[in-house]
Symmetry: C2
Protein backbone atom coordinates (compact mmCIF):
# COMPACT_ATOMS: atom_id res chain seq x y z
CA UNK A 1 0.00 0.00 0.00
CA UNK A 2 1.54 3.26 -1.07
CA UNK A 3 1.17 6.63 0.60
CA UNK A 4 1.24 8.91 -2.40
CA UNK A 5 2.36 8.31 -5.95
CA UNK A 6 5.97 9.33 -6.49
CA UNK A 7 6.82 10.68 -9.91
CA UNK A 8 8.94 8.66 -12.29
CA UNK A 9 11.22 11.70 -12.57
CA UNK A 10 12.19 11.18 -8.93
CA UNK A 11 12.50 7.40 -9.29
CA UNK A 12 14.73 7.88 -12.29
CA UNK A 13 17.20 9.83 -10.18
CA UNK A 14 17.41 7.36 -7.31
CA UNK A 15 19.80 4.90 -8.99
CA UNK A 16 22.21 7.75 -9.61
CA UNK A 17 22.10 8.87 -5.98
CA UNK A 18 22.62 5.25 -5.05
CA UNK A 19 25.67 5.01 -7.26
CA UNK A 20 27.32 8.15 -5.93
CA UNK A 21 26.60 7.22 -2.34
CA UNK A 22 28.14 3.81 -2.96
CA UNK A 23 31.28 5.49 -4.23
CA UNK A 24 31.46 7.80 -1.22
CA UNK A 25 30.96 4.79 1.01
CA UNK A 26 33.79 2.94 -0.72
CA UNK A 27 36.02 5.94 -0.15
CA UNK A 28 35.28 5.68 3.53
CA UNK A 29 33.34 8.94 3.73
CA UNK A 30 30.81 8.90 6.54
CA UNK A 31 28.74 12.02 6.16
CA UNK A 32 27.66 14.20 3.27
CA UNK A 33 25.54 17.33 3.02
CA UNK A 34 23.08 17.98 0.22
CA UNK A 35 25.38 20.80 -0.87
CA UNK A 36 28.40 18.51 -1.13
CA UNK A 37 26.41 15.94 -3.08
CA UNK A 38 25.14 18.75 -5.25
CA UNK A 39 28.70 19.75 -6.11
CA UNK A 40 29.82 16.31 -7.20
CA UNK A 41 26.57 15.23 -8.89
CA UNK A 42 25.73 18.47 -10.66
CA UNK A 43 22.16 18.67 -9.45
CA UNK A 44 20.79 21.29 -7.07
CA UNK A 45 20.96 20.65 -3.35
CA UNK A 46 17.31 21.61 -3.24
CA UNK A 47 16.38 18.83 -5.61
CA UNK A 48 18.34 16.28 -3.61
CA UNK A 49 16.54 17.25 -0.41
CA UNK A 50 13.14 17.30 -2.13
CA UNK A 51 13.74 13.92 -3.72
CA UNK A 52 14.86 12.26 -0.50
CA UNK A 53 12.05 13.75 1.51
CA UNK A 54 9.53 11.94 -0.63
CA UNK A 55 10.58 8.87 1.30
CA UNK A 56 11.24 10.28 4.75
CA UNK A 57 13.73 12.36 6.66
CA UNK A 58 17.02 10.59 6.25
CA UNK A 59 19.16 13.54 7.29
CA UNK A 60 19.85 15.51 10.39
CA UNK A 61 19.87 19.29 10.68
CA UNK A 62 23.32 20.74 11.10
CA UNK A 63 24.95 17.43 10.16
CA UNK A 64 23.75 16.28 6.78
CA UNK A 65 23.26 12.67 5.78
CA UNK A 66 25.01 9.55 6.97
CA UNK A 67 26.40 8.02 3.79
CA UNK A 68 26.10 4.36 4.77
CA UNK A 69 22.60 4.77 6.13
CA UNK A 70 21.33 6.75 3.16
CA UNK A 71 22.90 4.27 0.76
CA UNK A 72 21.12 1.43 2.47
CA UNK A 73 17.79 3.24 2.61
CA UNK A 74 17.82 4.10 -1.07
CA UNK A 75 18.73 0.48 -1.79
CA UNK A 76 15.64 -0.59 0.13
CA UNK A 77 13.45 1.94 -1.67
CA UNK A 78 14.68 0.50 -4.96
CA UNK A 79 13.87 -2.99 -3.75
CA UNK A 80 17.50 -4.11 -3.85
CA UNK A 81 17.18 -5.80 -0.48
CA UNK A 82 15.00 -8.44 -2.09
CA UNK A 83 15.98 -11.08 -4.60
CA UNK A 84 14.39 -11.20 -8.02
CA UNK A 85 14.27 -14.30 -10.19
CA UNK A 86 14.77 -13.54 -13.87
CA UNK A 87 14.65 -15.41 -17.12
CA UNK A 88 15.98 -14.22 -20.43
CA UNK A 89 13.92 -14.85 -23.54
CA UNK A 90 16.13 -14.83 -26.60
CA UNK A 91 19.63 -16.29 -26.46
CA UNK A 92 21.09 -14.08 -29.17
CA UNK A 93 24.09 -11.88 -28.64
CA UNK A 94 22.27 -9.39 -26.45
CA UNK A 95 20.56 -12.04 -24.35
CA UNK A 96 23.87 -13.78 -23.79
CA UNK A 97 25.58 -10.50 -22.97
CA UNK A 98 23.03 -9.76 -20.25
CA UNK A 99 23.13 -13.32 -18.98
CA UNK A 100 26.89 -13.09 -18.62
CA UNK A 101 26.88 -9.77 -16.85
CA UNK A 102 27.44 -10.60 -13.22
CA UNK A 103 26.88 -7.16 -11.74
CA UNK A 104 23.12 -7.55 -11.88
CA UNK A 105 23.35 -10.65 -9.72
CA UNK A 106 25.27 -8.71 -7.09
CA UNK A 107 22.23 -6.47 -6.76
CA UNK A 108 19.85 -9.36 -6.30
CA UNK A 109 18.74 -9.91 -9.89
CA UNK A 110 19.38 -13.61 -10.38
CA UNK A 111 19.20 -15.10 -13.86
CA UNK A 112 17.57 -18.49 -13.44
CA UNK A 113 17.30 -19.52 -17.05
CA UNK A 114 17.60 -18.56 -20.67
CA UNK A 115 15.23 -19.54 -23.47
CA UNK A 116 15.21 -19.54 -27.23
CA UNK A 117 12.97 -20.96 -29.92
CA UNK A 118 15.78 -21.77 -32.31
CA UNK A 119 16.47 -25.53 -32.05
CA UNK A 120 20.08 -24.95 -33.10
CA UNK A 121 20.62 -22.79 -30.03
CA UNK A 122 18.66 -24.84 -27.50
CA UNK A 123 20.87 -27.19 -25.57
CA UNK A 124 23.90 -24.93 -25.80
CA UNK A 125 25.59 -24.00 -22.57
CA UNK A 126 26.00 -20.41 -21.36
CA UNK A 127 27.85 -19.93 -18.10
CA UNK A 128 27.10 -23.57 -17.33
CA UNK A 129 23.38 -23.13 -17.95
CA UNK A 130 21.57 -24.86 -20.79
CA UNK A 131 19.48 -22.81 -23.21
CA UNK A 132 15.94 -24.12 -22.99
CA UNK A 133 13.27 -24.29 -25.66
CA UNK A 134 10.41 -21.84 -25.22
CA UNK A 135 7.90 -24.63 -24.76
CA UNK A 136 9.36 -25.09 -21.29
CA UNK A 137 8.82 -21.47 -20.29
CA UNK A 138 5.48 -21.85 -18.57
CA UNK A 139 6.53 -24.70 -16.33
CA UNK A 140 9.85 -23.04 -15.54
CA UNK A 141 8.24 -19.73 -14.60
CA UNK A 142 5.77 -21.38 -12.28
CA UNK A 143 8.21 -23.78 -10.66
CA UNK A 144 11.00 -21.28 -10.09
CA UNK A 145 8.96 -18.34 -8.93
CA UNK A 146 10.19 -16.13 -11.75
CA UNK A 147 9.02 -12.54 -11.44
CA UNK A 148 10.96 -10.73 -14.17
CA UNK A 149 11.36 -11.68 -17.82
CA UNK A 150 13.99 -10.06 -20.00
CA UNK A 151 12.88 -9.83 -23.62
CA UNK A 152 15.78 -9.95 -26.07
CA UNK A 153 13.82 -11.29 -29.02
CA UNK A 154 12.84 -9.59 -32.28
CA UNK A 155 9.90 -7.20 -32.18
CA UNK A 156 7.87 -9.55 -34.38
CA UNK A 157 7.34 -12.04 -31.58
CA UNK A 158 7.79 -9.80 -28.53
CA UNK A 159 4.16 -8.74 -28.09
CA UNK A 160 2.87 -12.30 -28.20
CA UNK A 161 5.58 -13.70 -25.93
CA UNK A 162 4.98 -10.91 -23.43
CA UNK A 163 1.30 -11.83 -23.25
CA UNK A 164 2.20 -15.46 -22.64
CA UNK A 165 4.65 -14.55 -19.90
CA UNK A 166 2.07 -12.41 -18.15
CA UNK A 167 -0.38 -15.29 -18.25
CA UNK A 168 2.27 -17.49 -16.61
CA UNK A 169 2.53 -15.07 -13.70
CA UNK A 170 5.44 -12.77 -14.59
CA UNK A 171 5.19 -9.40 -12.82
CA UNK A 172 7.78 -7.32 -14.65
CA UNK A 173 9.24 -7.19 -18.14
CA UNK A 174 12.59 -5.69 -19.05
CA UNK A 175 11.92 -5.11 -22.71
CA UNK A 176 14.75 -4.78 -25.22
CA UNK A 177 12.51 -5.46 -28.21
CA UNK A 178 11.79 -2.36 -30.27
CA UNK A 179 8.06 -2.40 -29.80
CA UNK A 180 5.58 -1.17 -27.20
CA UNK A 181 4.15 -4.00 -25.16
CA UNK A 182 0.54 -3.95 -24.14
CA UNK A 183 0.25 -5.47 -20.70
CA UNK A 184 -2.49 -5.49 -18.07
CA UNK A 185 -2.48 -2.94 -15.27
CA UNK A 186 -0.23 -4.04 -12.44
CA UNK A 187 2.41 -5.52 -14.74
CA UNK A 188 5.50 -3.35 -14.94
CA UNK A 189 7.36 -2.82 -18.20
CA UNK A 190 10.74 -1.11 -18.40
CA UNK A 191 11.80 -0.43 -21.96
CA UNK A 192 15.36 -0.25 -23.22
CA UNK A 193 15.01 1.01 -26.76
CA UNK A 194 18.62 1.13 -27.90
CA UNK A 195 17.92 2.53 -31.34
CA UNK A 196 15.86 5.36 -29.81
CA UNK A 197 18.82 6.18 -27.64
CA UNK A 198 21.15 6.21 -30.63
CA UNK A 199 18.76 8.49 -32.52
CA UNK A 200 18.74 10.97 -29.67
CA UNK A 201 22.52 11.03 -29.81
CA UNK A 202 22.32 11.55 -33.54
CA UNK A 203 19.91 14.47 -33.12
CA UNK A 204 22.11 16.15 -30.55
CA UNK A 205 25.15 15.67 -32.77
CA UNK A 206 23.47 17.26 -35.76
CA UNK A 207 22.24 20.31 -33.84
CA UNK A 208 25.34 21.05 -31.81
CA UNK A 209 27.77 21.49 -34.64
CA UNK A 210 28.74 25.12 -34.87
Amino acid sequence: MEEKEISQAVIGRLPRYFRYLGELKDEGIERVSSQELSDIMQVTASQIRQDLNNFGGFGQQGYGYNVGHLYEEIGKILGLDKEHNLIIIGAGHLGQALFNYMNFERRGFIFRGIFDNNPAVCGQQIRGVTVRPMQEMERFVRENNIDIAVLTIPKTSAVEVAEQLVSYGIKGIWNFAHVDLNVPKGIQVENVHLSDSLMKLSYNLSTHIY
Copy 2:
Protein backbone atom coordinates in the same frame (compact mmCIF):
# COMPACT_ATOMS: atom_id res chain seq x y z
CA MET B 1 22.99 27.45 -36.12
CA GLU B 2 19.84 26.61 -34.21
CA GLU B 3 16.71 28.73 -33.94
CA LYS B 4 15.65 27.93 -30.39
CA GLU B 5 16.67 25.18 -28.05
CA ILE B 6 14.28 22.26 -28.20
CA SER B 7 13.74 20.39 -24.95
CA GLN B 8 15.11 16.89 -24.53
CA ALA B 9 11.60 15.81 -23.56
CA VAL B 10 10.50 16.53 -27.11
CA ILE B 11 13.60 14.93 -28.66
CA GLY B 12 13.01 11.83 -26.59
CA ARG B 13 9.59 11.37 -28.18
CA LEU B 14 10.70 11.78 -31.79
CA PRO B 15 12.09 8.24 -32.24
CA ARG B 16 8.76 6.84 -31.12
CA TYR B 17 6.83 8.98 -33.59
CA PHE B 18 9.30 7.84 -36.20
CA ARG B 19 8.71 4.22 -35.37
CA TYR B 20 4.92 4.43 -35.51
CA LEU B 21 4.99 6.42 -38.73
CA GLY B 22 7.27 3.78 -40.25
CA GLU B 23 4.76 1.12 -39.32
CA LEU B 24 1.86 3.08 -40.83
CA LYS B 25 3.95 3.59 -43.96
CA ASP B 26 4.65 -0.14 -44.20
CA GLU B 27 0.94 -0.77 -43.92
CA GLY B 28 0.44 1.50 -46.92
CA ILE B 29 -1.41 4.18 -45.00
CA GLU B 30 -1.00 7.58 -46.61
CA ARG B 31 -2.47 10.10 -44.24
CA VAL B 32 -2.95 10.32 -40.49
CA SER B 33 -4.45 12.93 -38.19
CA SER B 34 -3.00 13.86 -34.84
CA GLN B 35 -6.12 12.34 -33.30
CA GLU B 36 -5.58 9.00 -35.04
CA LEU B 37 -1.92 8.94 -34.01
CA SER B 38 -3.03 9.85 -30.51
CA ASP B 39 -5.29 6.82 -30.39
CA ILE B 40 -2.64 4.31 -31.41
CA MET B 41 0.27 5.88 -29.54
CA GLN B 42 -1.48 6.76 -26.29
CA VAL B 43 -0.31 10.35 -26.16
CA THR B 44 -2.53 13.40 -26.53
CA ALA B 45 -3.16 14.79 -29.99
CA SER B 46 -2.26 18.16 -28.56
CA GLN B 47 1.18 16.97 -27.60
CA ILE B 48 1.79 15.49 -31.02
CA ARG B 49 0.90 18.78 -32.72
CA GLN B 50 2.97 20.80 -30.27
CA ASP B 51 5.97 18.52 -30.68
CA LEU B 52 5.87 18.58 -34.46
CA ASN B 53 5.38 22.32 -34.62
CA ASN B 54 8.70 22.83 -32.93
CA PHE B 55 10.19 21.91 -36.28
CA GLY B 56 7.70 23.41 -38.70
CA GLY B 57 4.22 22.88 -40.06
CA PHE B 58 4.25 19.39 -41.52
CA GLY B 59 0.49 19.04 -41.65
CA GLN B 60 -2.38 20.52 -43.53
CA GLN B 61 -5.61 21.79 -42.01
CA GLY B 62 -8.56 19.61 -42.75
CA TYR B 63 -6.33 16.79 -43.96
CA GLY B 64 -3.83 15.85 -41.31
CA TYR B 65 -0.30 14.66 -42.00
CA ASN B 66 1.09 12.79 -44.96
CA VAL B 67 2.64 9.68 -43.42
CA GLY B 68 5.52 9.26 -45.84
CA HIS B 69 6.46 12.90 -45.75
CA LEU B 70 6.29 13.21 -41.99
CA TYR B 71 8.31 10.00 -41.61
CA GLU B 72 11.01 11.39 -43.81
CA GLU B 73 11.05 14.79 -42.12
CA ILE B 74 11.38 13.31 -38.64
CA GLY B 75 14.16 11.11 -39.98
CA LYS B 76 15.97 14.20 -41.18
CA ILE B 77 15.44 15.98 -37.86
CA LEU B 78 17.00 12.99 -36.14
CA GLY B 79 19.93 13.12 -38.53
CA LEU B 80 19.15 9.72 -40.04
CA ASP B 81 19.72 11.03 -43.55
CA LYS B 82 23.43 11.26 -42.78
CA GLU B 83 25.88 8.46 -42.21
CA HIS B 84 27.73 8.13 -38.94
CA ASN B 85 30.98 6.26 -38.53
CA LEU B 86 31.18 4.38 -35.25
CA ILE B 87 33.74 2.39 -33.38
CA ILE B 88 33.10 0.13 -30.44
CA ILE B 89 35.50 0.19 -27.53
CA GLY B 90 35.33 -3.05 -25.59
CA ALA B 91 34.84 -6.34 -27.43
CA GLY B 92 33.12 -8.11 -24.57
CA HIS B 93 29.69 -9.69 -24.87
CA LEU B 94 27.85 -6.38 -25.01
CA GLY B 95 30.26 -4.81 -27.49
CA GLN B 96 29.96 -7.84 -29.73
CA ALA B 97 26.19 -7.85 -29.41
CA LEU B 98 25.98 -4.25 -30.59
CA PHE B 99 28.51 -4.86 -33.33
CA ASN B 100 26.44 -7.73 -34.62
CA TYR B 101 23.16 -5.86 -34.56
CA MET B 102 22.53 -4.91 -38.16
CA ASN B 103 19.51 -2.68 -37.63
CA PHE B 104 21.68 0.25 -36.58
CA GLU B 105 23.50 0.09 -39.90
CA ARG B 106 20.20 0.33 -41.76
CA ARG B 107 19.70 3.70 -40.09
CA GLY B 108 23.10 5.00 -41.12
CA PHE B 109 25.13 4.07 -38.05
CA ILE B 110 28.04 2.15 -39.55
CA PHE B 111 30.37 0.23 -37.28
CA ARG B 112 33.83 0.73 -38.73
CA GLY B 113 35.87 -1.05 -36.11
CA ILE B 114 35.99 -2.69 -32.72
CA PHE B 115 38.76 -2.33 -30.15
CA ASP B 116 39.87 -4.07 -27.00
CA ASN B 117 42.90 -3.89 -24.75
CA ASN B 118 42.93 -7.59 -23.95
CA PRO B 119 45.65 -9.21 -26.11
CA ALA B 120 43.75 -12.51 -26.02
CA VAL B 121 40.80 -10.85 -27.76
CA CYS B 122 42.71 -8.71 -30.25
CA GLY B 123 43.05 -10.37 -33.61
CA GLN B 124 39.78 -12.28 -33.24
CA GLN B 125 37.26 -11.90 -36.02
CA ILE B 126 33.74 -10.56 -35.48
CA ARG B 127 31.53 -10.41 -38.55
CA GLY B 128 34.64 -10.56 -40.65
CA VAL B 129 36.24 -7.64 -38.82
CA THR B 130 39.37 -7.99 -36.72
CA VAL B 131 39.35 -6.76 -33.14
CA ARG B 132 42.07 -4.13 -32.88
CA PRO B 133 44.29 -3.20 -29.94
CA MET B 134 43.48 0.14 -28.35
CA GLN B 135 46.86 1.56 -29.31
CA GLU B 136 45.51 1.81 -32.84
CA MET B 137 42.49 3.87 -31.84
CA GLU B 138 43.89 7.31 -32.48
CA ARG B 139 45.10 6.58 -35.97
CA PHE B 140 41.91 4.72 -36.84
CA VAL B 141 39.65 7.51 -35.62
CA ARG B 142 41.51 10.13 -37.60
CA GLU B 143 41.86 8.12 -40.78
CA ASN B 144 38.29 6.86 -40.91
CA ASN B 145 36.48 10.00 -39.91
CA ILE B 146 34.89 8.35 -36.89
CA ASP B 147 32.38 10.59 -35.14
CA ILE B 148 30.77 8.28 -32.58
CA ALA B 149 32.43 5.95 -30.07
CA VAL B 150 30.47 3.26 -28.27
CA LEU B 151 31.87 2.58 -24.82
CA THR B 152 31.31 -0.99 -23.67
CA ILE B 153 34.22 -1.15 -21.27
CA PRO B 154 34.23 -1.32 -17.46
CA LYS B 155 33.63 1.90 -15.57
CA THR B 156 37.18 1.84 -14.23
CA SER B 157 38.70 2.80 -17.57
CA ALA B 158 35.73 4.54 -19.20
CA VAL B 159 36.43 8.08 -18.03
CA GLU B 160 40.04 7.99 -19.21
CA VAL B 161 39.24 6.35 -22.55
CA ALA B 162 36.48 8.89 -23.17
CA GLU B 163 38.95 11.72 -22.67
CA GLN B 164 41.35 10.13 -25.13
CA LEU B 165 38.63 9.66 -27.72
CA VAL B 166 37.57 13.27 -27.42
CA SER B 167 41.16 14.37 -27.98
CA TYR B 168 41.23 12.23 -31.14
CA GLY B 169 38.26 14.13 -32.51
CA ILE B 170 35.22 12.04 -31.55
CA LYS B 171 32.01 14.11 -31.40
CA GLY B 172 29.60 11.75 -29.66
CA ILE B 173 29.82 8.97 -27.11
CA TRP B 174 27.25 6.25 -26.63
CA ASN B 175 28.15 5.27 -23.11
CA PHE B 176 27.27 1.87 -21.68
CA ALA B 177 29.78 2.14 -18.82
CA HIS B 178 28.15 2.74 -15.46
CA VAL B 179 29.82 6.04 -14.78
CA ASP B 180 29.22 9.69 -15.65
CA LEU B 181 31.67 10.92 -18.25
CA ASN B 182 33.03 14.41 -18.05
CA VAL B 183 33.44 15.78 -21.54
CA PRO B 184 33.99 19.27 -22.93
CA LYS B 185 31.06 21.35 -24.09
CA GLY B 186 30.05 20.45 -27.63
CA ILE B 187 30.70 16.73 -27.18
CA GLN B 188 27.49 14.76 -26.90
CA VAL B 189 27.10 11.87 -24.48
CA GLU B 190 24.15 9.51 -24.49
CA ASN B 191 24.12 7.18 -21.53
CA VAL B 192 22.63 3.71 -21.42
CA HIS B 193 22.79 2.75 -17.79
CA LEU B 194 21.30 -0.73 -17.82
CA SER B 195 21.48 -1.30 -14.10
CA ASP B 196 19.69 1.99 -13.46
CA SER B 197 16.94 0.80 -15.76
CA LEU B 198 16.69 -2.50 -13.92
CA MET B 199 16.51 -0.67 -10.59
CA LYS B 200 13.61 1.43 -11.82
CA LEU B 201 11.81 -1.76 -12.78
CA SER B 202 12.57 -3.15 -9.35
CA TYR B 203 11.16 -0.04 -7.66
CA ASN B 204 7.98 -0.15 -9.67
CA LEU B 205 7.58 -3.85 -8.93
CA SER B 206 7.93 -3.35 -5.21
CA THR B 207 5.42 -0.49 -5.03
CA HIS B 208 2.75 -1.89 -7.30
CA ILE B 209 2.05 -5.08 -5.43
CA TYR B 210 -1.41 -4.87 -3.94
